[in-house]
Symmetry: C2
Subunit: 385 residues, 2 copies
């Protein structure tokens, strides 16, 4: 017998609309099915099943297994649906329902998200997306070229000088390294002023529309301020690491009409979600969640580089960057590392033309003149058919 | 030859103070040492070693291996130090230096953090800590008793009725379930008003000082508003999931003098950091980082419950909840799940008396009268010597 009595919550509060999460569940069929059943409870009422009263809680609040099937030799796949109302229109609570407590249990991986329109409409999504960024840069078709200002320890003036050379050589997007915040070597306001100006100066010479992207990953109360400072200084985009500042703060930033700059996500601190079989798929965290959080481009480590992502995992990100999600625009995958001439065909085959090549060391290694090195890569990309 | 010239950044910007991170590195000695060397670069300049100029960048910005030794059969332990200046006094950038990019690489686990006073002073830490919470509740010595309001789907009135019974029965801390945010079944403002009032009403009858703890895990712009609403309604504490809202927002919340309520952290969405050998230790994420983020108590799944934490992992959390960290107060471990009479000796042995017992289903299972069930557990705890 349950101490909890029948709830007086009216059933009409629930629309019947549900969002669904595909979970990969490891173990035997019996173990995997037990995990699926556990998820329905753990992610919602978090209360002993047998103590829950009949009625609205079981009918609407519990998660529901929509399908369950073998996936491969050591895992099963379950689609679990949840009433949209339990997410309360909040991205934070949506994350909690998808994987809050289940993140603490072994053998569970979030593979895919499906949101009905009634939930999607709570999120504006990417303001620019692929087409918007192409429009800003006036590059209708070819892959985009991007690089990062580093190493940390250079002064703002030295970083701005690099930015100028990068833009002169034809890099479309010149971003702060994600470790540059507000260090004494290069305070934020000084850096963004000098770097934005340097890129604009190069643009006046080239006639192009390269942009400087400022890293505004910062303490909570600084993020919006730094966004405003960067915008006022003439930055053409903003970079944040949602794993550090929180996905929902990125969503608010992206939705702020007074800022209205494209948002680039950096994967810092998000690796633990994808480096074991527990966690989330690459597509969910770097693709679908980035879009729900309003990013316009998603930076991640390219396969074959110094990180560990596989070809298949990168493909998952690309697919999730443009999988249909209602009004949520498709976003640019921005694979970093491992860019060289001989890898271009393979990368195009994986990513298509709608990608941002993020090049680091390669620009410094090719030859002694940075501007010429940039021109070399730019020509390479312009010749892509 | 490097294109990057000697930096003009003056060396006097660096104080010589360094913080250090203990990493557990998996693989052979050669692999583990390579990982340690890679961390020194990846977490700082993220730039090819051979292209970095001599001088300030190598001398101060690079991470530095302070020690390297075998740990167990398949891992090594390296202590890497970083100049405090590269963290820029920001908790966000501190996190990024500790584990930003390295989180994306396999075989690396953050085991311990050591911060010098010059960095610790950037963070206020817990406002109350153990002694502060004991003072608020007027419970000088015994373990504290806590429970959660659930299941989701109950109305605010029904939840408040539970809160009243819990407080009447002697629960010290009555918190929202972490899935209760602002759902239609129980809108936030309505719930906190009714629940805070219910606990105060019970206190008037019992003469005790039980507190209602409101879950304010919410969209970014709502967190501080809900904190204020909860405070005004008479809530005695706040719960947030830093894995969802971001650790730094919790830090700001904890430091806000207009709120000044004890903060309880919930581990939702943080599981991926600890469920594989990549990630962070339980002590770092639930202990040390919670304290840097200003929490006064850290909720986590008890060993032997329905989650997967081991005895040793829980011990790590307890140690990190009180390991010396300058002015940062010790905080309460709040292990949840698995509470029953026969487990008390084992839990006391692990946690000592400075713990919060978080009891869920057990309160409903013991007998048909919720108030009596609470009294039973209360008596059990009062009899602890």
């Amino acid at each position: 017998m349950s101490i909890i009595r029948q709830t007086c919550t009216p059933a009409c509060l629930f629309s019947g609309d549900r969002f669904s999460v595909t979970y990969r569940l490891f173990g035997s069929e019996q173990e995997a099915r037990a995990r699926a059943e556990d998820i329905c409870i753990e992610q919602t009422v978090e209360f002993p099943n047998e103590l829950c009263p009949e009625g609205i809680i079981r009918d609407h609040v519990f998660g529901r297994i929509e399908s369950f099937a073998p996936r491969d030799a050591d895992s099963f796949q379950a689609v679990v649906s949840y009433a949209v109302e339990i997410a309360a229109g909040e991205l934070t609570q949506f994350l909690n329902v998808v994987f809050g407590n289940s993140s603490i249990k072994p053998g569970i991986r979030v593979e895919h998200l499906e949101l009905p329109q009634s939930l999607l409409q709570c999120f504006k999504g990417p303001r620019f997306g692929r087409e918007g960024i192409r429009g800003l840069l006036d590059v209708p078709k070819r892959p985009l070229l991007s690089t990062a200002l580093k190493p940390m320890g250079l002064s703002s003036k030295e970083l701005a000088d690099l930015a100028y050379q990068f833009a002169l050589g034809g890099m479309d997007i010149i971003k702060d390294d994600h470790g540059l915040t507000n260090q004494c070597c290069s305070p934020f306001e000084e850096r963004v002023g000098l770097c934005a100006e340097a890129v604009q100066r190069a643009n006046r010479e080239t006639g192009r529309r390269s942009i400087y992207v400022a890293n505004i990953t910062a303490p909570h109360s600084e993020v919006m301020k730094r966004a405003g400072t960067a915008k006022d200084a003439g930055a053409g985009g903003l970079m944040v690491a949602p794993g550090i500042i929180g996905l929902d703060l990125m969503r608010e930033l992206a939705g702020d009409d007074s800022i209205a700059l494209p948002i680039f996500t950096h994967p810092a601190l998000q690796g633990s979600f994808v480096t074991s079989r527990n966690g989330m798929s690459h597509g969910v965290i770097f693709g679908q969640l980035s879009r729900l959080g309003g990013a316009d481009a998603t930076i991640f480590p390219n396969f074959g580089g110094r990180f560990s992502f596989s070809h298949e995992e990168c493909r998952d990100i690309v697919q999730s960057a443009s999988v249909p999600m209602g009004h949520l625009r498709s976003i640019f995958p921005a694979p970093g590392g491992g860019m060289s001439l001989d890898r271009v065909p393979e990368m195009l085959e994986t990513y298509g033309q709608d990608l941002i090549f993020l090049i680091g060391g390669g620009l410094f290694r090719h030859g002694p003149d940075l501007v010429e090195n940039c021109r070399y890569f730019r020509k390479m990309v312009e010749n892509i058919r």
